[in-house]
């Protein structure tokens, strides 16, 4: 570890390239905390956006017209407005309004109270619904690709709409939409940097703080690029592994 730090300290002394996060304890702790926060944000948003997508795709096929209208409205709103504005809206408008109205439960943090949904929470809500809206559309296109005949076979065997969705329709639809889903999740991963706008101490926000304190914008930009390239690489690798696992012998 010491050798590693020395290398970057030397690098700074000899070339002026200041990767302060690798040799100064205070900055490296900030950086590591940011890694955890951003990973937590990314993983929670990925999972929730999938849940929103699945439930939404199911709700889109509901008998109730009201449910379908609500779904259509949700998708239009989140697809057609900038995610940057959405995240600001959730934090500064929805969050503040709830708090002022006394509707936001407070959590005792040992001496001081914090709202149950703070800036991290609102980033999760807004980003998950944003990516979820696209996931709904992606899953819907997959569901539409499942032949009516397959649906009817399940129906004739006594499957209800929900059971048929869970055991037959969705597993088949899912395979069809994996490539599109892959794209959207990669997008979501990158979009989590918007949490910067509401001061969630994730990677973008922390990098900005570090370069403000150390005047090493270029170096921190470099770190940011590498960080996201690696994360996206891991996500894509996992999705491809999943895709391969999902291949049905003799199908398509």
């Amino acid at each position: 570890m010491e050798v590693f730090a020395d290398f970057f300290r030397d690098l700074y002394d000899t070339t002026g390239l200041n990767f302060v996060i690798f040799y100064e304890e205070y900055e490296s702790e900030r950086f590591i905390a940011a890694v955890w926060t951003s990973l937590k944000l990314i993983v929670i948003c990925l999972i929730l956006s999938l849940v929103v997508g699945i439930v939404g795709a199911w709700a889109q096929g509901a008998k109730s017209r009201i449910v379908r209208l609500v779904m259509a409205g949700y998708i239009q709103f989140f697809r057609n407005t900038p995610p940057f504005v959405q995240i600001l809206f959730f934090y500064f408008v929805v969050g503040t309004t709830l708090e002022r109205a006394g509707l936001m439960p407070l959590v005792d943090m040992g001496g001081w109270n914090e709202p149950l949904i703070g800036n991290f929470g609102w980033a999760v809500v807004s980003l998950s619904f944003f990516a979820g809206a696209f996931n709904v559309e992606i899953f819907r296109s997959g569901i539409e690709a499942v032949p009516t005949a397959t649906r009817e076979a399940a129906e004739a065997l006594g499957y209800t709409r929900l059971k048929s969705f869970i055991y037959v329709i969705f597993p088949l639809a899912f395979r069809v939409c994996l490539p599109a889903l892959n794209n959207n999740l990669v997008n979501l991963l990158k979009t989590t940097t918007l949490a910067y706008a509401i001061a969630v101490p994730e990677m973008m926000y922390t990098a900005n703080q570090i370069w403000s304190d150390n005047v090493n914008v270029t170096e921190m930009m470099f770190v940011l690029f590498i960080y996201y390239i690696v994360l996206v690489g891991i996500l894509v690798w996992l999705m491809h592994k999943w895709e391969r696992k999902m291949i049905i012998l003799g199908y398509n």
């Binding site: 005949a149 009817e152 065997l157």
Partner: protein
């Protein structure tokens, strides 16, 4: 195995399926224009007729895949044309095999057979698996249990579809031109499976173009054209004494 309890007052001496004055339209297009017939327990009924005459629609009405505008269908006393119909109760009694085998492509042959009893009837997996293995054997696909539908020939898939339907222990089976999409070589093995079922006493309603087969296994043949039953009778007389010109023309084309 589950006992079927009917509180509909149906007894085996009454028709198992009783269709009365059935009318079915798709929008303005009236496809069935007053069809009536009965099927007794253990009977094998064949429905023949030109394409587009409403044969598929007719048997799809029996298990409520299509709704009905007018008339009555009773399956073991259950009225199908009833807004409060318990579809699950009906579908437990009625098995159906389609022209396009419609197997679930993401599940192996034996999983296809096991799925509905586990998901729909909530039967224990071990018991279902044992029964599924027997059914796969019954349709002569031993060794293919772990194959995916895409790895099987059309005829093999169709036999898995039959086994899948039988796994629900239906009282009656509907077959909609199930050999129409198959290669001639595989037609025979599928027909043989149906024949065995019929011989075991399964009540069957078959839509088919296999006249030789119909003649051999049917108790009664119905000829439909443009939404009505034009002529019907036991095979012995049906094929030789057809009176209606439409029946004659159809038979002359197909025989």
């Amino acid at each position: 195995m589950s006992e079927t309890v009917t509180n509909t007052g149906w007894t085996p001496d009454q028709p198992m399926v009783s269709i009365k004055n059935l009318h079915k339209s798709f929008g303005d297009l009236e496809v069935l224009k007053g069809v009536s017939f009965d099927v007794m327990k253990g009977e094998v009924i064949c429905i023949i007729g030109p394409s587009g005459s409403g044969k598929s629609t007719l048997i799809r009405c029996v298990n409520a895949l299509n709704d009905i505008q007018k008339g009555s269908i009773k399956v073991e006393g259950i009225e199908v044309n009833d807004p409060k119909l318990d579809k699950l109760e009906l579908r437990k009694k009625v098995g159906m095999v389609f022209q396009q085998y419609n197997l679930f492509p993401h599940k192996t042959a034996i999983e296809n057979v096991m799925m509905a009893p586990i998901h729909v009837l909530k039967q224990p997996k071990a018991e279902v698996e044992e029964r599924a293995a027997r059914l796969i054997k019954k349709v002569r696909l031993e060794g293919k249990e772990q194959s995916y539908p895409g790895e099987l020939s059309g005829g093999q898939q169709q036999r898995v579809a039959i086994a899948r339907s039988l796994a629900m222990n239906p009282e009656i089976m509907l077959f909609d031109e199930i050999t129409a999409a198959l290669d001639p070589e595989t037609v025979k093995e599928v027909l043989f499976t149906i024949q065995e079922l019929a011989e075991e006493g399964m009540t069957c309603i078959l839509v088919t173009h296999e006249m030789g087969f119909a003649r051999e296994i049917a108790n009664h043949i119905y000829f439909t054209d443009r939404g009505v039953i034009v002529e019907h009778g036991p095979p012995a007389s049906f094929f030789t004494d057809a009176k209606d010109p439409r029946t004659k023309e159809f038979l002359s084309q197909i025989l």
